[in-house]
Every structure is written in structure tokens, then in C-alpha cells.
Symmetry: C2
Subunit: 209 residues, 2 copies
DNA sequence: TCCATAAATGAGAGTATTCTCATATTTGAG
DNA sequence: CTCAAATATGAGAATACTCTCATTTATGGA
């Protein structure tokens, strides 16, 4: 949610942590600009205003810093959404809220979006973490009789793919207030709600900022 | 559908065409192994059993050969599916057939799958071609009163994303005969069919080989 | 078969990137 | 403030990759 996320986390800690965090923040902005494959070590140290060699005092290679950055961001986004949903009981409402908040958060932090989208492709383990949350909500919906699906990894893959499409579309074009309701509706349909109920469950979504 | 697809197309033509095709086939297998970003010129010429310099007699750079290969494969797959569907009138049946044939073809040719999946990310124009076919079938379904959606690019993105998830899953694990029906059902649900109708429309799918 | 032309070759120049390490600088505990 | 330890620096060695071109080899029409 902030261009200096990692530096904020390490403010007040020793110099070592602060430099490390500055590199992580720099890595995020470089990945946002050039993608994970296009990001070079020197791009990262330059963005951080440091000498090239400094990188190797903190990370062994590019993979390590990118993985660390992606996990850090995924953790923060999950934490935030999870907290916001604490009191929501209805499974459909939980899915809709999580999806729309996820899109809104990443729309406000495009660098994070780039890292998460790229990371989802390059770091398969990262997806699995996300799945824990999602699986819980979908199973809840099945138990509540609202969803009609067999909950398996393939289903979760499909839901996550739809969310990813929405985030990508949001990043690409100008903000379209109908985008989030559209994808939420799609997800609920996918989960077995009727088009009418799905629409109703999404109708209340405030268009993100 | 064949490891020597491009060479077959150019059999009997001049040496120039045959060498070019050998490079294209080699590029496909390298991309399947290392991805588009990981594929190096020398990997391609080595796989083709040629000297490094030969590459530059036929292509200006990596992008050009990869684009050519990806388009060639996309064209062949589209052509084949299109032909197989000629006589199908019902839009739901068309969507289901196209999806399941697409998955079956790529399951039988994993190298092609890798190129198309990677290409869909790296070559945005390639997606647009695919969309022409898809959009037609979905609009037909709306006209037939079977689908209940607004047909826009974002919807097509979602459908394609679901198909991509299925192909990826099919490549990863052992063949699961329920995978194709599952994703076809998801797509029909997404397009606004009720879960019951969607299931019915997918029930006849023969599990791919 | 002959040979002009087309194509293939691969050494190496050019460029980009990673990673190391001896040295310089900074830090913060005492 | 002092100094030993921790950290940062950046030149350059090592590696990886792209692309060129003078030369060799192969092709196919006459």
C-alpha cells in the first residue's frame, strides 16, 4: 500500500535491516517497471541509490530478493483484507468483499499488483498461501447452501485466474466502476449461484475510489 | 500437433524454407523447456543442429522467431477446431466443443501448449485473434437466449483465463478425465447458464484420450 | 556435369550481467 | 569520543548472450 512499505516495517531497526528493506522496496518498483525477468541486479541497486556490491551483502541472488518481496506484499495484502472481513459471516459476501478489496488495494498500488501478478506465475508456492483463505470461504458457502461446487484445487485456480484478469484489466485501462461487480458476479456464478442471486450479491459494491 | 509441424509444411519447398522451418520447430521445443524468456538463440540453433550464425540468415531476433512460431501454432489449432465445429449450431455445444478440443489438442502436444500459454502473456495481439472466434460463439448464444451476459473484452478475457487454467492443470498433473467437463461447466455458468443446464451441456464430453 | 548463387558456418568482437573482494566508510557500544 | 566490528563501495574478473562477417559448403538450373 506504500512505496516504502519494507522501509517502514524496518524503521528504527538496525542499519542492516534498513538497507535490506530499501533494496526490497527498490526491487518492487523495478519489477513493476520491467517485470521479474527484465529486472537486473544493477537496476535494483541503482533504484535504491546504492552500489552494486551492496546487493550481495543482503541477498544471494535475484530470485531470493524477488521471492522475499513478493511474499512480503502477499502477506500484507492478505493480512489487511482478512482484518477487514472479520465480522462478515455470509460466504457470498465474504467472497465479494475479498475480491473487491483485493482489486481496490492493488489498483491503489500498481507496483504491488505487478509484483503479485508476476509472482503468481513465477512462484507457484505463493498461490498456495492465498488458497487457504479462499478455500475456507468457499467451503463455508457450500455449507451455507449458497454455493454448489466441488471444492478442489482446480476450482481455486479458476477463481484466482478470474481475479487476476480483473486486476490486469484494472491496471491496463482507466478505472471502470463496473469491472469489480462484473468479476464478482462471474465468480459467484462460477461457484454455482444463479445469475440473479449473483447479481444481487454484487449490487452493493462501491466502485473503488 | 506434430514435433515437426513447420518442417512438414515446408517439405518439398526450397532449402531456405526447410531450414527456416527447422529453426521454428526447434524454437518451439526450446520454449517448451525453458519458456520464452529463458530461450536463447544458441539453444535454438543447437536444438536444430545448426551453427549459431544460421539463425540470422532467417530471423532478425528472438522476438521475431517466437512470434512467428506462436502465430503458426495458433493458426493451426484454430483452423483445426474451426473445421471440426463447422456443423454445430447450438452455441453452448460450440463453446463446449471448442474448449474440450482445445484442451485435448494441447494435451497431446505439450510443446504447443507451452508456446501458446507463454505467447498469450508475451504477445497481446495473439489473444485478439482468438477472441474473434470466441466472441462469435458467445454472441450466438446470447441471440439464442442460452447465455445471459454482456459480451465485452473483459468477459472474453475471463473465459480465456479459465481455458488457460485448464490447459495448465492438464499439463501439470496426470490426465484427469473430469477436468475438461469441469472447466466447460464453469465457462457455461460464467456465461449465465444455470448450474443444472451447464452440467447437462457438458455431460456428453468424452474424456480426452 | 558445371558453376553462379544461395546458404551455412563458427570464430570472435561487442555488449550486458553477475558476482567477488580488497578497500573505504559508517555505526554504535563502551 | 574512540575504535573494533559491521557495512558499503565499485573496479574488474568471470560469465553469458547477441550479432557480424569473411570464408566454406551446398544447391539446383543450364
Amino acid at each position: 500500500m506504500h512505496d516504502r512499505h519494507f522501509q517502514e516495517l524496518s524503521a528504527g531497526r538496525g542499519k542492516r535491516e534498513r538497507t535490506r528493506s530499501a533494496l526490497l522496496d527498490a526491487a518492487v518498483s523495478v519489477v513493476a517497471e520491467k517485470g521479474m525477468d527484465g529486472a537486473k541486479i544493477t537496476d535494483i541497486t541503482t533504484a535504491a541509490g546504492m552500489a552494486n556490491g551492496t546487493f550481495y551483502n543482503h541477498f544471494n541472488d535475484k530470485d531470493e530478493i524477488l521471492r522475499t518481496a513478493a511474499y512480503g506484499i502477499a502477506f500484507e495484502v492478505s493480512r489487511q483484507i482478512d482484518a477487514e472481513m472479520e465480522e462478515i459471516e455470509d460466504a457470498a459476501a465474504r467472497v465479494v468483499t475479498a475480491t473487491s478489496r483485493f482489486i481496490a488495494i492493488l489498483a491503489a498500488a500498481p507496483d504491488w499488483a505487478a509484483v503479485l501478478l508476476d509472482g503468481a506465475d513465477h512462484l507457484p508456492e505463493m498461490r498456495k498461501d492465498l488458497y487457504k483463505y479462499l478455500r475456507g470461504d468457499i467451503e463455508r458457502g457450500v455449507a451455507q447452501g449458497k454455493f454448489d461446487v466441488e471444492v478442489n484445487t482446480f476450482l481455486l485456480d479458476q477463481v484466482v485466474a478470474l481475479v487476476a484478469v480483473a486486476v490486469r484489466a484494472r491496471l491496463r485501462g482507466k478505472p471502470d466502476p463496473s469491472l469489480t461487480p462484473q468479476v464478482c458476479e462471474s465468480i459467484l456464478r462460477l461457484l454455482g449461484m444463479s445469475p440473479a442471486r449473483a447479481r444481487k450479491a454484487c449490487s452493493h459494491i462501491a466502485s473503488p475510489r
